[in-house]
Amino acid sequence: MKRAFDWLQSRTGFRGARHALLDEPLPPGTGWFFTLGSVLLALLAVQLLTGAFLTLYYAPTPDHAYDSVRFIIGTVPGRLVRGLHHYGASFLVVALVLHMVRVVAFGSYKAPREATWLSGLALFGLVLAFSLTGYLLPWDQRAYWATVVTINIARLTPLGGDVVAGLLQGGAAIGALTLTRWYSFHVIFLPAGLVALIVLHLVLMRRHGISGPVRSHAGDATAFYPWQAARDTAVIAVVLVALCVFAWNGPPPLEGPADPSDSTYIPRPEWYFLGLFQLLKYFPGRWEVVGAMVVPGVVVALLVLLPWLDRGPSRDPRRRPLVVGAFAVGFAAVVGLTALGWRDRPQTAAAAQTWTLREIGGRRMSQASGCAKCHSPDGIADPLEAAPSTRGPEWLAGHVVDPEMIAPGLREPPAPAAEREVAAIVAYVRKLSRQAYPGFAAETETAATIYARHCIGCHVIDGEGGKDGPELSHIGAKRDLAYFTRLIADPEAVNPDAEMPGFRSRLSDADLKAIAAYLESRK
């Protein structure tokens, strides 16, 4: 063994490299506060590793990104790896902020370490850029809409905002070109820059030595390894265990596939952008650029200039009340804005409340019109409920009307479907892709089917439907069951001028009762 190492030493000089890397002398009194840089390094390593492995399965196209991420989280190791990568980003941001707080409190940015400080700020910016670009990649609703907001904020850049937005967007709209673009930023350009900056940051750190405690301690310098390395390792172990708990407990949430036509979705940014998001709310209209660009710009400028604004020789925070106080106020403002943003974040409605009648009605129609012939556990296609569809409405409508269009010679000839049924089935399948069917009472399903087949042409319920007849969303507050039953069966018997056709011949008694009871329930 010894001889093998001696041989390696003679060929590579690895012992010298090990000595140079590990035996750095640290000033006496270097303590636990100085472990944060190593924690960051460990977290970045986890991000780089898990990220590299995620690309084994991920496909950056709008048609496949969502499916590939769903495939990744389909197994325990996949859930873990994506969990580590997802929550690792949050851990990184927290560790970065703590590291920065330590550097400011200890005055470590002071001469001769200005360049180290600047490279650290650049690293902070890079990590946020990673987070923004990575957010889009799962191509789910959250990803898509957060990116819409990001690009629109970029558009506010004074002078050339459209150029910046165009650069980020790639194509005419957020789509395939945006996704590949952000993907290559996320996995090629940003990592290259990150590694270069980390090397620079570490080289600078070693060049000037670490700043050490604020007041010099008596005693000898100690080697990094194993004295400080032991503290680093202990903290890193605790942090990584915490990260594993997150990754293990909460599988990273994947929402429905991105749907640009969904007008009901409320975009939410990742939590560490909530402060910025909140700030925008205080600058409405043409002042928006102040919240989006000016305030953050001033903060960044102050941070960049910090080593030159605070030039006194002392690093002791008690002797630098102005700088430490200003930083504390700024920090409190960010925390406060984030807390406000967290409090104001849109609440998601209970699943059952987001289903429209047409979507509910589509369920029975899909069962009746033979979808299950192919879409069944032992059929040639997956059951409708098993896998959310990432297809657009036109594709789905075409497929419902003529399944053979997709699979010639493979499927049964389709049952002829009326236009409204097709629309309802498409609505149902698209809703399924965002949310599992919550289950409704049988009467509600019956009423929904009748509504989606007959009433929707003329009557609005919950913002959906034709406008020729009166809106029915709250009709139950005005009329009762007996009235609805009589009116729907034979409108002219109730009102001789009625334009509505009678449904006595088209609805069974049970159906009539179901729709009348449903309308009565709409208070």
Partner: protein, 172 residues
């Protein structure tokens, strides 16, 4: 060859490395090395399991392959079937060739056209009543058994059945 010595390593006092400190040092080295090994091992295990995700073959599905009326007894008929196959996250529309072989009575079987040697697609030679592989001269009889050439195994059997006395279904 050696790397340049660390510039201010001289600042380290030799005294601190003696006695009790030496003991402590050994304990810390053990701690650091084992925790780092543990973290590395854990990460490698997770990432390894992730990369080696076991391939799960999709359940076969019955596919219509034609009608009994189109078949001639003992003459294998090639059918190119479109099947939809799950390939990880991707639903693939694959084409696969199978030969339907009917004995004129009740028995019907289907053979995969993929040669068992290196995977070329075999053809039915009507004159010789043999399957021939164009690649390295493999020859199979109508039952799929190897007659000559390098193929190590008979042609793979594909499950087949007659549906209601009419249509032929194969499981792919």
């Amino acid at each position: 060859m050696d790397w340049p010595p660390f510039p201010c390593a001289a600042g380290m006092a030799p005294g601190s490395q003696k006695g009790f400190a030496m003991h402590r040092r050994r304990a810390l080295v053990l701690f650091v090395n084992s925790v780092v090994a543990l973290i590395g091992g854990g990460l490698s295990a997770i990432l390894g399991a992730f990369a080696l995700r076991p391939y799960k073959g999709a359940e076969g599905r019955w596919v219509r392959a034609g009608a009994l009326a189109d078949l001639t007894p003992h003459v294998p008929v090639a059918r190119v079937l479109a099947i939809s196959r799950q390939d990880g996250w991707y639903r693939e529309r694959a084409r696969e060739t199978v030969f339907l072989v009917w004995d004129g009575g009740k028995a019907l079987h289907a053979l995969s056209a993929t040669c068992t040697h290196l995977g070329c697609q075999v053809r039915w030679d009507v004159a010789a009543t043999r399957f021939r592989c164009p690649c390295h001269g493999g020859v199979f009889d109508a039952q799929g058994n190897v007659v000559s050439g390098p193929p190590p195994r008979p042609l793979a059997r594909v499950e087949a059945r007659v549906d209601g006395g009419e249509g032929v279904l194969v499981r792919l």
